[in-house]
């Protein structure tokens, strides 16, 4: 196997097979945590970590799992990892953990994770499964970060909490767009990204 082929699970989810804008998975958390960039970045790291480790663990266990309870086994593994992530955040980044509150716990219900475990980890060896987890986590994260970039810039006039637009803009009558902070705008920004993405990748367009 040449090295290019072995990295397909890592590279594909970033664009051609992106979980958010191509498979339309994980939309609900993309709405919830993208009003500011910092929670979006933390969410990306959390989902990527959970997904990569869950993929590896399930892949290691794949030959032993009784098929009648495989979904339950996957859920137990994912739930345990999510609890660990939540506890680590509470210990080392309390502010962000307060801002993300229930959404960390809800990583369990993120369909990207169960989807990758079912579709990939159960049939592949640990190393490709690990790459697939990282790839899909980052593919999800890229979209989150792009969306939160526009929402924070236009909605609060800041990036990572630093003011971007100079004060005289505001004095001249510029106002932050309060609509950008609200969840519906995340959906519209995601739709715009899908539009641009499909315009570039013509093979993804439905006939």
């Amino acid at each position: 196997m040449n090295w290019k082929k072995s990295f397909i699970p890592l590279v594909n989810p970033l664009s051609k097979d992106n979980p958010v804008i191509v498979q339309i998975l994980g939309i609900c958390s993309a709405l919830a945590v993208t009003a500011k960039m910092e929670p979006a970045v933390v969410m990306t790291i959390s989902v990527t970590a959970v997904l990569a480790f869950a993929n590896v663990i399930i892949s290691l266990m794949r030959k032993t799992i009784p098929s009648s309870i495989r979904i339950i086994v996957q859920l137990v593994v994912v739930a345990a990892l999510v609890v660990i992530v939540d506890q680590v955040l509470k210990a080392y980044n309390y502010e962000v953990s307060k801002a993300l509150s229930v959404f960390i716990g809800l990583i369990i219900t993120n369909c990207i994770i169960m989807g990758r475990l079912e579709a990939f980890a159960l049939n592949n060896r640990p190393w490709p499964a690990f790459l697939d987890g990282i790839g899909n986590g980052l593919g999800y994260g890229i979209i989150l970060i792009i969306v939160s970039f526009f929402r924070e810039l236009l909605g609060s006039g800041t990036i990572f909490g630093f003011q971007i637009f100079p004060d005289f803009w505001y004095k001249a009558g510029y106002m932050n767009n309060g609509l950008m902070i609200l969840p519906p705008m995340a959906l519209i920004v995601v739709a715009c990204i899908i539009w641009v993405h499909r315009a570039i990748n013509k093979d993804l367009q439905e006939k």
């Binding site: 009784p66 009648s68 137990v76 660990i84 509470k90 210990a91 309390y94």
Partner: protein, 238 residues
């Protein structure tokens, strides 16, 4: 071994669940001290916020706390210090406010600011969806509010949740909780156009009526037992 047999499935799930349980309890035990410290520092940050002290970027809350909070003690509703074995910081205000006023442990935090000594008192009550709480800092005349800090668990964003915004909290600064003839009257939270002729008041949040009323009730219920303590401060510092 038959992977589809019932015995295998049951043993497999039991082992898995026990293993996961052990791992989670180890993680919990290992991270617990750090989490408790974070929660305490968050409470300290809130208390200091009432005295209008906010940490600058990267500043350690615990040191800021040691610099400013010079003393803390528990008083009863007659304003006398009680020699409780409990640390005032650990008093569960949410439990205390449910007791009769003469049964309560009332924590006081003395805070040394560049505008003199301030006395910070905790308040706790109910909003629309869940608990609301806060800290009120008094000037050493025991009457005038120096600063107020409110927080909530789950009030409606944009409506009730506005009590955590400076726009609402700033209104409390400079309000007197005693009337001119020395009666405790708390601070009223009133709608635009319904301002009372006498007594201290602030404007309610439009659209956040229940939460605003919750703040008013919380202030009355939590601060009234302190009125003897505040009155004593007032006569001491005339």
């Amino acid at each position: 071994m038959n992977r589809q047999s019932n015995t295998y499935t049951i043993i497999y799930s039991t082992v898995l669940v026990v293993l996961v349980g052990v791992v989670l309890s180890v993680v919990y035990q290992a991270l617990r001290p750090k989490q408790v410290e974070n929660i305490q520092n968050d409470t300290r940050r809130q208390i200091l916020a009432a005295a209008l002290i906010t940490p600058s970027e990267g500043q350690d809350i615990a040191t800021l706390w040691q610099e400013h909070i010079t003393a803390s003690y528990i008083v009863n509703d007659k304003g006398e210090k009680i020699d409780a074995s409990q640390d005032p910081f650990d008093v569960k205000v949410d439990q205390e406010v449910k007791k009769a006023p003469d049964q309560r442990l009332l924590p006081v935090f003395e805070c040394n600011t560049d505008k003199g000594m301030k006395y910070i008192l905790p308040v706790y009550g109910a909003g629309l969806w869940g608990p609301i709480w806060g800290y009120i800092a008094f000037d050493n005349n025991g009457d005038t509010i120096y600063g107020a800090y409110f927080a909530h668990q789950g009030e409606t964003p944009g409506l009730g949740a506005e009590i955590e915004k400076p726009a609402f909290q700033k209104q409390f600064e400079g309000k007197d909780v005693f009337s001119t003839d020395g009666q405790f009257q708390s601070v009223k939270v009133v709608k635009n156009g319904q301002e009372p002729a006498t007594g201290a008041w602030v404007h309610a949040i439009s659209g956040g009526t229940i939460t605003s009323q919750g703040v008013q009730k919380m202030l009355l219920n939590s601060l009234e037992p302190y009125s003897a303590f505040l009155a004593a401060l007032k006569s001491d510092n005339k």
